[in-house]
């Protein structure tokens, strides 16, 4: 059974689709770290919020999945800008732990606000692709997971182009290199921070709206995502978006083979083993900490 090529190919397909999902979920975290040098502890809750907003837009406003998803990603961008304005900016000069505590507080507040508003009963968002699957040579591909892959490719190329060619994108890269120098040459650091917050929240929200139809929604759902995101970001190099993408795929594949050939319980172990090995051998991660495009 283990040697069956169809089975091995299925594990590869699974790993690739799961891994691109990890990468998509982790990029927002990498972006904030790379550009602002801050760790966003509300990252998992941004993902959760994206999913719950999607649920709300579909249930309460009666919007179809596609429109609701796009609208909520836009709303998440606004939320991200507000988060940067209210939590990150006032604490930017105060040192590392202030932002950690500030974002942690936002995470706790969001989790409990959602629990209060939606209750603790697991919810379900229906996507039209949710139970679709197609088969190529005995290997199953799942509609919603393919959408996750597509969302990653679009988001990643969009982000790449944005950082490379737009004025604000260039300013973001400059800030990743040296914030003091940015201030000296007249780059509006506050504006760049807000943009970074908005982009990161929109990307994380996008992960939330495309991945959540695969699973149930509940207020703590971000916790799982945040663990994987940190693993991806540490393996890939803190703040390196290419690193996050490649580390996500590698982690997805490693987990898929560990779970498929070994036992499902080994999956989580893999993320941490690779993470610890990486910290021992290459503490700067696969690609080091810089926002390069």
């Amino acid at each position: 059974m283990a040697a069956d090529p169809v089975f091995l190919a299925q594990l590869a397909a699974n790993g690739l689709s799961v891994g691109l999902g990890y990468a998509l979920a982790a990029i927002g975290l990498a972006l904030i770290f790379g550009i602002l040098g801050q760790v966003n502890f509300a990252h998992g809750e941004l993902y959760m919020l994206g999913a719950f907003l999607l649920f709300w837009a579909m249930q309460q406003l009666g919007l179809p999945y596609g429109i609701a998803a796009l609208l909520m990603v836009a709303l998440m961008a606004v939320f991200g800008a507000l988060l940067a304005q209210a939590v990150i900016l006032p604490n930017l000069e105060r040192g590392f732990e202030s932002v950690v505590l500030g974002t942690l507080a936002v995470g706790i507040i969001l989790q409990n606000a959602v629990r209060l508003g939606f209750g603790a009963t697991p919810l379900d968002v229906a996507s039209p692709l949710e139970s679709t699957a197609f088969e190529i040579g005995g290997v199953l591909f799942f509609g919603q997971r393919m959408l996750v892959c597509a969302a990653f490719i679009v988001a990643f190329s969009g982000l790449y182009a944005f950082l490379r060619y737009s004025e604000i994108g260039r300013a973001m890269r400059a800030m990743a290199q040296n914030r003091e120098a940015c201030v000296m040459v007249g780059i509006d650091v506050r504006r760049v921070t807000r943009w970074t917050g908005a982009l990161a929240a929109a990307l994380t929200g996008l992960a939330g709206v495309v991945i959540s139809p695969l699973f149930d929604l509940y207020p703590n759902m971000g916790t799982e995502v945040v663990i994987k995101s940190f693993a991806v970001v540490i393996i890939g190099g803190m703040g390196n978006i290419w690193g996050a993408a490649i580390a996500g795929v590698l982690l997805g594949l490693a987990e898929s083979y560990a779970g498929g050939l070994g036992s499902a319980g080994m999956r989580d172990g893999i993320a941490f083993i690779v993470m610890i090995a990486m910290l021992l051998a290459r503490p700067q991660g696969l690609f080091g900490r810089t926002v390069r495009v």
Partner: protein, 374 residues
């Protein structure tokens, strides 16, 4: 200013002292208000409050009102113990009910023994709770629901006829323990093709389902709770599998009702302590009141706590006091008429209650058989 504060403070003290004379009978529980099982905590609260309100509307017990107090355990042993200690020492509860997760319930058992107050376990199913109770040592612990050993007897019986099964369970005392008990009783000739235990918060079943799709067992023995089952069943449908879920899947849970209705789980079955669709007048009266108030059908946890409160009130009434020792003795002699029949405890203070054999047919899960404990 200072002295007026002093007056106010002593006033509050005096008020609480007077208040304590005509105090409510307090029923405490440490259950998951946060964490992945928070929605079970919600049902615990609902079931407990419904029972307490029903009793209070009829004048309470011994002329005193009942109060239901809940603290968060997040279903973790350490938090369960901390919450139980707070309820016992600060709120001075007269009785405690058990948590959802067996690990937390087992951790609270010695705390109750030390406090010398009755501990009624109405949800957890780990067999160690039974073996440690009554003649097993801890005389304060009672269990009102069937345990995993009793259920495994029935499950193994129903497994006859399968050639091969795969097992998927949560990586907890419950998942591993219940699966082990089933394996020990499994009829000869049933082959186990794979076994996977995953942490309670795991949502992705892709590797397990991929393996099962390749191995093609006759049935998938499922030992996960509602939320994981919902995720498993969602992904199971994407795989287009036609392997029945058997053993202990929570097929009666409201969380999976849509999946059941799809018809893709026809032929799946489970053995559960309770299912809200049990067509018996007493149960229907309970579910009607529950749905009317909370807009949701009672979960097993809600029912367990509801009946636990009623059984305790019954014991206090018969004892004529809330004195823990006397209530304990009254509980040991309980003949409380519950939804599943009379609640009588054996030497291990385990109720020899009946269990429900639930089968899915044409997109509907229904109670096929009420199985008596061996």
């Amino acid at each position: 200013m200072r002295s007026s504060m002093k007056w106010l403070f002593s006033g509050i003290l005096a008020f609480t002292a007077v208040h304590a004379l005509a105090q409510d009978i307090k029923i405490g529980i440490a259950g998951p208000i946060t964490g992945p099982l928070a929605f079970l905590g919600q049902h615990i609260k609902w079931g407990g409050e419904l029972a307490v309100d029903e009793i209070n509307q009829k004048g309470g017990v011994l002329g005193r009102k009942l109060a239901f107090l809940m603290q968060d355990s997040a279903c973790r042993p350490a938090d369960g113990v901390a919450s139980a200690e707070k309820l016992l020492s600060q709120d001075r509860v007269d009785v405690m009910l058990g948590d959802v997760c067996s690990g937390s319930t087992i951790a609270v058992m010695p705390v109750m023994e030390k406090a010398q107050k009755p501990f009624i376990v109405t949800i957890s199913t780990h067999p160690d709770i039974t073996s440690k109770a009554g003649v097993g040592g801890n005389k304060w612990v009672f269990r009102t629901v069937a345990n995993d050993g009793m259920i495994a007897d029935v499950v193994a019986e129903k497994m006859k006829g399968y050639k091969s099964i795969a097992i998927v369970g949560e990586d907890t005392d419950y998942g591993r323990g219940a699966a082990r008990l089933m394996k020990e009783r499994l009829p000869a000739g049933v082959k186990i093709v794979s076994e996977d235990y995953m942490k309670q918060t795991e949502t992705d079943f892709l590797p397990v389902l991929t393996r099962i799709r390749a191995a093609k067992p006759d049935a998938l023995a499922t030992y996960v709770l509602d939320q994981q089952a919902s995720n498993l069943m969602k992904q199971y449908q994407q795989f287009g599998l036609a392997i029945p879920l058997v053993g202990r899947p929570p097929l009666g849970s409201g969380v999976v009702s849509e999946q059941i209705a799809s018809g893709k789980f026809d032929g799946s079955w489970t053995v559960y302590p309770y299912y809200d669709k049990f067509p018996e007048p007493k149960n229907q009266a309970f579910t009607r009141a529950y749905v009317q108030r909370y807009k949701q059908a009672p979960h097993y946890a809600g029912w367990g706590v509801y009946e636990g409160v009623l059984a305790y009130a019954d014991a206090v009434r018969r004892a004529g006091t809330t004195d823990p020792e006397k209530v304990r003795d009254a509980l040991a002699r309980s003949d409380f008429e519950g939804i599943l029949g009379p609640m009588r405890f054996d030497a291990n203070q385990q109720a020899r209650t009946r269990m429900m054999f639930i089968v899915v047919e044409k997109g509907v899960a229904s109670v096929k058989e009420l199985v008596a404990a061996k």
